[in-house]
Amino acid sequence: MRYLPLNENDRAEMLSVIGATHVDELFEDVPKSARLKDLIDLPAHKTEHQVEQHMSRLSAKNVAASSVPFFCGAGAYKHHIPASVDHLIQRSEFLTAYTPYQPEISQGTLQALFEFQTQVAMLTGMDVANASMYDGSTACGEAVIMASRVTRKKQAVLAPGLHPQYAAVTQNSAKFLDIKINEVTPQPGADMNVLDLINDETACVVVQSPNVFGEIVDLAPIAEKAHAHKALLIAVFTEPVALGAIKSPGEQGADIVVGEGQSIGVGLNFGGPYVGLFACRQKLVRQMPGRVCGETVDANGERGYVLTLSTREQHIRREKATSNICTNSGLCCLAFTIHMSLLGEAGLRELAMLNHEKACDLADKLSAVKGVELINDSFFNEFTLRLPKNANDVVNALADKGILGGVPASRIMQGQHENLLLIAVTETSSEEDIAAFEMALKEVLS
């Protein structure tokens, strides 16, 4: 048992100190009927090599994004992550530490969180940010609950361009709190329809930009209307790199900004773990969910950091807490911070423009294919094509040709929009990849 340091002599000695003759005695509080007599029917221990081999064979049954021309997005994006990021987050002091409850011996985690919060606030154009949420979708749900608390109103309006799984998570988070959410059907080019749904009963309006179809939405008029009715604008994004090229939600009047941070520092990981970003206006900070790190001084007057505003949280407030959240996405937000610190503003802007140019190039090439139509007026690194065929069939046919050619809209939109194909392009797509995609699509559609 390579992970268990005790040997039989140790165990015997320790039992005698305890005053027990057999380890079974330590389990005497377990009702007799529930004590297992035999080993549970699962395989016995394996060597490190055996486990590695088994997992390696399972891994080999999947098509890794880097091994093929790859164009999937819709909430998760493939970007290059500098090698130093993964090296640093694997340092024992970061990897094997708990939540920084003892600040005197947790300044590494705490200072990194303070840097993370500042970066997220800068990126989103907001005053403050928390120390991360599970992911973008759960952050979105928490934001709606927070807005209802702040405004003391019970209706939320979701835009038709919000990622449908974000909408589903939000509906799920809110449904038992009597927060009413409008029937929302994913629809391109329809986000401005929310203007007609905002009224005095509205607690918040939730708009994603770039939206799930890749369209960039003008948030300012929505913010204006929301504020006129004392409602909050919750701005959502799934691709943080976009904020290197487009106006920040803060500049456009958002009150709360939530998003997925995965693009920066965190790999695709088949959907998780990711890192939820959550930022808001200063005046709302005491209603914000999740952990928050703040600056203070120690007994010598030296600057240091602690977890703070814990009177909002479940371990103090219990049933009156702002949220039941206890865990953040610690290591993923560290990865975000390190990658973002490597990029800096100059790097982020360049990266964003490179993504956008590749997307423009691919959009031009694919929309020139016979029968294919680009539906976007605007986009960043993700756009939607209307195909002359069922997009799911096209994606499967492309996969057979060794190309992961986007996400069929119907897969996340409950079967609707079956001819729409969501396509993302990043700096990782080469000119050869783009050419291969173009040729394969022509073949599949011919």
Partner: protein
């Protein structure tokens, strides 16, 4: 951790005899400014293929304002974050006996496996034919978790323990609503419960009703019976949320009877599985009458805590609840694995907990851990965890005061009676442990014990490490009880990278981000 009832600001002034250094560093403890004070927005540590600079299609939404994000080159970044890392305590550095947090060793094989390209570099919405191995991992993990718990189904997607609680309680709510039992809204929660339990119940629209603890640290059965009331159409009890072993580190001896009583009034039994590490391979929650239980893969199954996350909270469900499990989940059809991700394909599902499919990176790690240990090793790990906790309890019970009599499970709970009239409080004792080279235990939790100190050594500690830890604890207890050392306890820690931090000031005037010096000056004007 509980902050109320303990001082949150240093009480003693600076009194070190240290000579200040010109650099602000102290040998290995390097002074480390914020990245905003060392980097600049014009510098970058990433070489990017130069954009061509053509016409954009951003719809007139181009960013015109500055962002202000500083950039640093790779050598600067390495040094910055390595320096920061050296200010952290970690499992790999020493005993981390944080009760209820299960700081066991994080095997490095798990890290290697999670980074295999077929797991780390696959997109959640790739065609299912291209991710069959990933779905097989989910199916295998489900099999292990269901078998270890003796439960028929598991929802893998919850992202952390509290998220798993939400999943289980939502399944209960969905079942009650489906049965026309929507008036059942009262959830019983012991006063010793984790704060997440009542917070979760409220988030599901339930009303929390606290049940007191008995003198032996367990649920008071008489109060429970009274709160449950009599069965019948008007009974409004939705269920109970009970941690087992409970937060006092004790097995709830009446648990089967409690489950029966709750079921008898038409309620459901949510078990908080945060402490499942004490039971794996020896007790199956399914045999105790549990209807739903989350497991923390980051506690029981060794995935790293990472300074606060990411976690993972798969939640097992009983026959009564399994139809209401959220999407997505994996089914096997012939030789192929199929992901059910559309609520239309699962009409009783209560909904969706998260975008995509949950914490794949934790699934691969937990599965590697379970396969490594096997059925035999998991049982041995449980026994060693319980043995280690009892060894610590037995070795300290003459100098400290155990909160309850008898054996504990995987964690030993002490109260602060031994510190009475010494001028030393639990917090001071904890800070003195830092100077001894240890991370303090969980303090001031559970709330039912005064000045609580909850020690969970886990199975990962050798007897030698435990003996050294016990020696330090005995030394501190005796020093505190001498009655003359209160000042030195109040001054602790003195050897840590920082002295005690002022949490009161941090909360009163929150500074939650760095602000450029010019802005600070402006704000002051």
């Amino acid at each position: 951790m509980k902050n109320t009832g303990r001082p949150t600001a240093p009480t003693s002034a600076a009194n070190t005899n240290e000579q200040p250094t010109a650099s602000g560093s102290k040998a290995l403890n390097q002074a480390t400014k914020l990245i905003f004070e060392t980097g600049t927005p014009r510098r970058t540590g990433v070489d990017i293929q130069e954009p061509k600079g053509g016409k954009t299609r951003l719809g007139g939404h181009e960013r015109t304002s500055d962002i202000g994000l500083p950039g640093l080159t790779e050598p600067e970044i390495m040094r910055h974050y390595v320096r920061l890392s050296q200010k952290n305590y970690a499992i790999d550095l020493g005993v981390y006996p944080l009760g209820s947090c299960t700081m066991k060793h994080n095997p490095r094989l798990n890290e290697k496996v999670a980074r295999m390209p077929g797991f780390a570099d696959v997109h959640p919405l790739q065609p299912q034919s291209t991710v069959q191995g990933a779905l097989e991992v989910m199916e295998e993990l489900s099999h292990w978790l269901c078998t270890l718990t003796g439960m028929p189904a598991v929802a893998l997607s919850p992202k952390a323990g509290a998220h798993g609680e939400l999943c289980g309680m939502m399944a209960i709510r969905a079942r009650l609503d489906a049965d026309g039992m929507s008036h059942k809204r009262r959830v019983l929660v012991p006063e010793s419960a984790h704060g997440t339990n009542p917070a979760t119940a409220v988030q599901c629209g339930f009303i929390v009703d606290e049940i007191p603890a008995s003198g032996n640290g367990r649920v008071d059965l008489a109060s429970l019976k009274e709160k449950l009331g009599t069965p019948g159409p008007d009974n409004n009890v939705a269920g109970i949320m009970l941690t087992n072993p409970n937060t006092c580190g004790l097995f709830e001896t009446d648990i089967i009877e409690i489950a029966d009583l709750v079921h008898a009034v038409g309620g459901y039994f949510y078990c908080d599985g945060a402490n499942f590490t004490a039971l794996v391979g020896r007790v199956r929650p399914g045999d105790l009458g549990v209807d739903a239980m989350h497991m923390n893969l980051h506690k029981t199954f060794s995935t790293p805590h990472g300074g606060g996350g990411p976690g993972s909270g798969p939640t097992v469900l009983s026959d009564a609840l399994k139809a209401h499990a959220p999407v997505p989940y994996v089914m096997k059809e012939g030789d192929a694995y199929k992901l059910i991700e559309d609520v239309r394909d699962s009409e009783d599902a209560f909904g969706r907990m998260t975008a995509f499919h949950g914490q794949m990176g934790m699934y691969t790690r937990a599965l590697s851990y379970m396969m490594s240990h096997g059925s035999d090793g998991l049982k041995q790990a449980t026994e060693d965890a319980v043995l280690n906790a009892n060894y610590v309890q037995a070795s300290l019970s003459d100098v400290m005061t155990p909160a309850f009599e008898g054996y504990c499970m995987h964690e030993a709970l002490f109260d602060d009676r031994f510190l009475k009239n010494t001028g030393v409080e639990t917090l001071d004792f904890a800070k003195a442990m830092i100077d001894e080279g240890y991370h303090p235990m969980t303090m001031y939790f559970p709330l039912v014990v005064h000045g609580a100190m909850l020690i969970e050594p886990t199975e990962s500690e050798s007897k030698g490490e435990l003996d050294r830890f016990i020696k330090s604890m005995r030394h501190l207890a005796e020093k505190a009880k001498s009655g003359t050392e209160a000042e030195s306890f109040k001054a602790a820690p003195i050897h840590a990278p920082m002295r005690r931090l002022d949490e009161t000031q941090a909360a009163r005037k929150p500074i939650l981000r760095w602000t450029p010096p010019a802005d600070v000056a402006e704000a002051a004007e």
